[in-house]
Symmetry: C2
Subunit: 268 residues, 2 copies
């Protein structure tokens, strides 16, 4: 069985440094394609470039222009490949326009030590069937965000006041997450997951889209199959920008990915 | 008056894309030069490359090999320069070795909006004269860390149990910070400040040095003159790596910089 996520994030090797992609329209939101989707496409090119180091460990992406459905190219320039890690620069382009410029370190997460001393608290969430599914989003939101049809998200009921005009003001959003097509999570899909929920600014009464300037993701372990818990928070909305921290916990209760992005504040 | 920090992070323009630096031995710690110092050198080259956009807004650095005192070169490749922000790739090299490869977005922090809706809590610290100065560090520590002589740091007394073999286990370190030569903070020096304290793993009973793999800093405002408060925390020590989050607050009570790094766990 081939999953939609794998088909639509696939890249084809042209030469040692170039990979072709075909960006799919189903991942669009507002005026462009979702940044997490683009990161997964770029991540797949890097995975092909480092066959013995298949997992993203750290990826930093700078978003330079909005992407659109259609052909794209990922170029990879290896900066260092030695020991257990490899680092490369990668660009995702469409025509003459660079959409994303990135740096990434890859390795083999299966070979890391098993010592886990996480002190972060796993988010406390009601079971998925007691949360609010994204399928309940109003049609006008789904019309501008075909992206939402890719996901099965179940929002924490305490974090969706913004859907009825009553944002909490806390700057926190959390949800259960899985891909709608049933594909299980892996380190590449986590690159999508860290930028899949609505902007945390929705919970601050700022409902517009928030363009990402920079996003860095750390993938810390291969996720167990099943539902993921995703939590977004912001603590520093100032000067027209905000940071959005994301944690992703797997079904085994492990903190498998962390990310932080700097984004522009939505226009009021 | 010329300050040590400015002299020793200065770069000389060779051409549009190349800047020469002379890395100073006073910033070494353990086997190499401090990563924050190197980031400030690289940051100065980018500042020269974008005269109308003098401030680092986001900088992501991947540390590929240990630096040593002596000549270095920073190469800058502009990726996008338009509107209020510019993004470039930059490498810091010594001879044939890339020490750091980085991406950065620069802008003019003085032109951002004045709206501040920070919800993060400013760290609660006793006054500097009731904190523990770094000058009290044992001679064997100062011998391997000449870096410490560059700083006037005053550690929160609750966060220095590790100096007497009693780490709290909380994964938190905080200190007042200023440069020993009296230079006031600015956005470039904040690139140093986010990687100036000892590794937060000291507070987890892991006293070795922790090599940075990746560090991303967001500079959110030009800092007011005076003491800075710096707080490091980690929540996910696992698989031989940990994340270290840093917050820097200025004397006016503003959260002026945030960073996160992924580092290797010190050997026990």
């Amino acid at each position: 069985m081939t999953y939609e996520f794998d088909e639509q994030t696939a890249v084809t090797r042209r030469d040692d440094a170039t990979y072709a992609a075909d960006l799919a329209p189903g991942w669009s939101v507002g005026g462009g394609l979702n940044g997490g989707y683009l990161l997964a496409v770029l991540g797949n090119a890097l995975r092909q470039a480092f066959p013995a180091k298949p997992d993203p460990v750290a990826v930093s992406a700078y978003y330079l222009s909005a992407s659109e459905a259609g052909p794209a190219e990922v170029s990879v320039a290896v900066r260092r490949d030695g020991g257990s890690l490899a680092t490369a620069a990668a660009d995702l382009r469409q025509g003459d326009d660079v959409r994303i410029t990135a740096l990434a370190t890859y390795g083999d997460l299966g070979r890391l030590g098993g010592d886990v001393r996480t002190t972060a608290d796993e988010p406390d969430m009601p079971p998925p069937d007691q949360c609010v599914p994204n399928t309940m989003a109003p049609p006008q939101m789904r019309a501008v965000a075909p992206l939402m049809d890719r996901f099965d998200m179940r929002f924490h009921p305490d974090h969706i006041g913004w859907t009825v005009g009553q944002p909490s003001g806390n700057g926190v959003l959390s949800a259960w997450f899985r891909l709608a097509d049933g594909r299980e999570p892996d380190p590449i899909s986590l690159l999508l997951v860290v930028d899949a929920l609505p902007p945390v600014t929705f919970d601050l009464g700022l409902p517009g889209w928030a363009p990402t300037l920079e996003l860095t993701a750390h993938v810390r372990a291969r996720p167990a199959p099943g539902w993921l818990k995703v939590r977004h928070a912001t603590r520093n909305l100032a000067g027209g920008m905000f940071e959005e921290d994301c944690e992703v916990w797997d079904s085994a209760g492990r903190l498998v990915a962390q990310s932080r992005q700097l984004a522009r504040q939505p226009r009021a």
